[in-house]
C-alpha cells in the first residue's frame, strides 16, 4: 500500500517546549485515521506540519510523496481547520465558487452545497451563517478540489445532530471512494464508528496505534458489574484470577478484567452474592482515558 502521509522522526519545538516529540507515522492511501489525544497533546501541530503550515524542527514530512508546500500536492488536498472564520462580503455560493477556481478538477457547486446541507443558504452572506453552518461551509471548501487527502480538525464542533449525521455519511462515502482521511475529534464515539485506525498522541508522543477494536482490547479489556451482597469485599474480588481493578458505586461493583469468560466462571464457583449481572466491553472513551493515564 502506498503511503499518503509519511512522518519520519518529526519534532517541533516551541520556545523550549516540545509540542511534537520524535513522531514517526505512516498513513496508507485510502485509510481513515483518527488522531486522538488530550488538549495540547500535539494533534493540531502535527496536522499543521503535515499540511506544510509549520516546518518541523527536526525530521521529515511527506504528503502524497512530496513536499506539502508543492502546488501539485496542494491541488490534491483539502482541510477543515480550526479557528477559521468565513470571508466577509461574499455569499455562500460565491465563496465555494472562489475555492473551486483554485483547483484543476473541482467538484460541482451543486454537489458541494448538497453534502454540506447548505442548498437553502446558497444566496446568504457567509458572515450571516450560524456557527454550525459556517463549519459546514468549511467542509464544502475542504472538498472543493475533490481532494485525495482530507484533513478534518475537530470538524463537527457546533453542528447539530442532523448535520453531523450527513457529515459523517459523506465522509464515509469519500472513504469508500478511496480517499485518505485524517481527523481529530473530541467525540470519541465518532472516531470509533468512522476510523479504520486510531493513533493516540500524548505530550507529542505516539502512545497507541491500531484499529478501534485493537485499542479497546489492549487497554481496558472488559467489565463485569453486579450488585454485590454485604459479604463481598474488595480483597476477595481482587484475589480472583485476571481482575485488574475494582470500582464501587454504592453496592454495585465493577470488575475490570482481560478475560471476563474465566472471571464469570470463577465468580459463580466461589458463590459470590450477586444480582443484576452485566458484562460489557469497554468503550473507546475508557480505553482512551486509560492510555493517557498510563502515559502520564
Amino acid at each position: 500500500m502506498k503511503a499518503a502521509i509519511q512522518l519520519n522522526g518529526v519534532s517541533k519545538v516551541y520556545k523550549e517546549k516540545k509540542a511534537v516529540d520524535d513522531l514517526t507515522l505512516s498513513i496508507a492511501e485510502g485509510t481513515v485515521v483518527a488522531l486522538l489525544g488530550p488538549n495540547g497533546a500535539g494533534k493540531t501541530t502535527t496536522v499543521s506540519m503535515i499540511l506544510g503550515m509549520h516546518q518541523p524542527t527536526k525530521g521529515t514530512v511527506k504528503l502524497l510523496g512530496g513536499d506539502p508546500r508543492d502546488q501539485r500536492v496542494r491541488d490534491r488536498i483539502g482541510a477543515m481547520l480550526q479557528d477559521v472564520s468565513v470571508i466577509d462580503g461574499l455569499k455562500v455560493g460565491e465563496t465555494i465558487d472562489l475555492f473551486r477556481s483554485y483547483y484543476k478538477k473541482p467538484l460541482p457547486l451543486d454537489y458541494l452545497l448538497k453534502v454540506s446541507n447548505l442548498k437553502a443558504e446558497k444566496n446568504k452572506f457567509a458572515t450571516a451563517l450560524s456557527g454550525g453552518q459556517q463549519r459546514r461551509l468549511g467542509f464544502a471548501l475542504a472538498l472543493a478540489g475533490d481532494p485525495d487527502v482530507i484533513f478534518l480538525d475537530e470538524p463537527t464542533v457546533g453542528m447539530d445532530v442532523t448535520s453531523r449525521q450527513l457529515f459523517w455519511d459523506t465522509v464515509k462515502a469519500m472513504a469508500g471512494r478511496g480517499k485518505t482521511i485524517v481527523l481529530t475529534t473530541h467525540y470519541l464515539e465518532e472516531a470509533d464508528s468512522v476510523a479504520d485506525r486510531i493513533v493516540v498522541i500524548n505530550n507529542g508522543k505516539l502512545i497507541a496505534d491500531g484499529t478501534p477494536s485493537e485499542i479497546k482490547a489492549e487497554t481496558t479489556g472488559r467489565v463485569i458489574s453486579f450488585v454485590a451482597g454485604q459479604a463481598v469485599t474488595t480483597e476477595a474480588l481482587l484475589a480472583l484470577p485476571g481482575v485488574t481493578d475494582v470500582e464501587w458505586s454504592g453496592r454495585r461493583v465493577k470488575l475490570y478484567s482481560t478475560d471476563t469468560d474465566r472471571l464469570i466462571v470463577a465468580l459463580v464457583e466461589n458463590r459470590f452474592d450477586m444480582r443484576d449481572i452485566e458484562i460489557q466491553s469497554g468503550g473507546l472513551e475508557d480505553a482512551f482515558q486509560a492510555l493517557v493515564q498510563q502515559a502520564n
Binding site: D75, I87, G89, L90, S101, Y102, K104
Partner: protein, 251 residues
C-alpha cells in the same frame, strides 16, 4: 502561469471587487464623502478662486479624488487585510494551490480597478457639473498620476493590516487617514497654511500625491522630489510590513 492559476487569479479579482462594492465603509468614504465634500467646499470657497495657479473647482477636484483613492487603498484595504489575517482566512488560503503571488496580484489588480473607477467617476461628476475647462492631456496625465500614484498607499494599508485586531485597525487607520488628509492639504490647500504646517505637509505622502495632480493641471510637471518621497514611503513601509509578517510567522 498555467490555466488554472490564471482562472484562479481572475476569480479572486472578481471576488475582491464584489466585496469592495458591497462594503459600506468603501461606499461612504471613497464615493459619497469625496463627492459631497467636493460640492460643499467648492461652493463655499467659490469655483473661480485661483489656487495654485488654477481654478479652485479644478484644484479641489484633484484633492478630493486623491482623498477618495487614499481611503480605498489605505483605510478600507487595511481593515480587510487585518480581518483576513486575524480570522484565519490567510491560513486557509495557504493550503490551497493558490500561490502567494496570485493572491497579492489579485489584491493589486482589483485595487487598481477600484481606483480607476474612483478617478473616472470624480472627473466625470466634477468636470461635467462644474464645466471644468482643462486640456485633454491634463485630464489624462493627472488621472493617470492619481490612479497609479494612489496604489502606493496600499503599502500603508498593508502595514496597518499586519495588526491582529481589526477593530483597532479600523479606528487607527481612520484617524491616520483623516490626519494625513487634513495635514497633507487635501481638505484645505497648503496655500492657506502657516509656513510650519506647510513644511510638515511637504513631508507627507498625501500632499505629494495631490501635488503631482495640482502641478499637472496647472500646466507644470511632476516633481522628482515628490516622486522620490512617495517612493521612499513605499520602500520603507514595504520593508516594515515584511519584517513584521516574518516575525509573526516565526512564532
Amino acid at each position: 502561469m498555467n490555466g488554472t492559476m490564471l482562472k484562479a487569479t481572475i476569480a479572486h479579482c472578481k471576488a475582491e471587487l464584489l466585496r469592495t462594492a458591497r462594503n459600506r465603509r468603501f461606499v461612504i468614504f471613497s464615493v459619497v464623502m469625496p463627492i459631497i465634500f467636493y460640492f460643499l467646499f467648492s461652493n463655499i470657497v467659490g469655483d473661480n478662486e485661483i489656487v495654485g495657479g488654477v481654478n479652485w473647482s479644478a484644484y479641489y477636484l484633484m484633492s478630493m479624488t486623491c482623498y477618495g483613492i487614499i481611503g480605498a487603498s489605505f483605510s478600507t484595504f487595511s481593515i480587510r487585510l487585518s480581518r483576513e489575517r486575524s480570522q484565519g482566512w490567510i491560513r486557509m488560503l495557504r493550503i490551497t494551490p493558490l500561490p502567494a503571488w496570485a493572491y497579492i496580484l489579485s489584491k493589486i489588480v482589483s485595487q487598481a480597478v477600484i481606483n480607476l473607477f474612483i478617478v473616472v467617476m470624480m472627473f466625470l461628476i466634477g468636470g461635467i457639473s462644474k464645466g471644468i475647462d482643462l486640456p485633454v492631456s491634463a485630464w489624462i496625465e493627472s488621472g493617470l498620476w492619481i490612479w497609479l500614484g494612489g496604489l502606493s498607499f496600499m503599502t500603508l494599508g498593508t502595514l496597518f493590516g499586519t495588526m491582529r485586531n481589526p477593530d483597532a485597525v479600523q479606528v487607527l487607520s481612520m484617524i491616520t487617514y483623516m490626519g494625513l488628509s487634513v495635514v497633507g492639504g487635501l481638505w484645505m490647500p497648503v496655500e492657506t497654511m502657516s509656513s510650519t504646517m506647510r513644511k510638515i505637509a511637504e513631508l507627507l505622502p498625501t500632499y505629494r500625491l495631490g501635488q503631482g495632480a495640482w502641478n499637472l493641471i496647472a500646466g507644470g510637471s511632476l516633481s522628482w522630489e515628490g516622486i522620490g518621497i512617495l517612493a521612499a514611503y513605499v520602500v520603507v513601509l514595504m520593508a516594515a510590513s515584511t519584517w513584521i509578517m516574518k516575525k509573526q510567522e516565526a512564532v
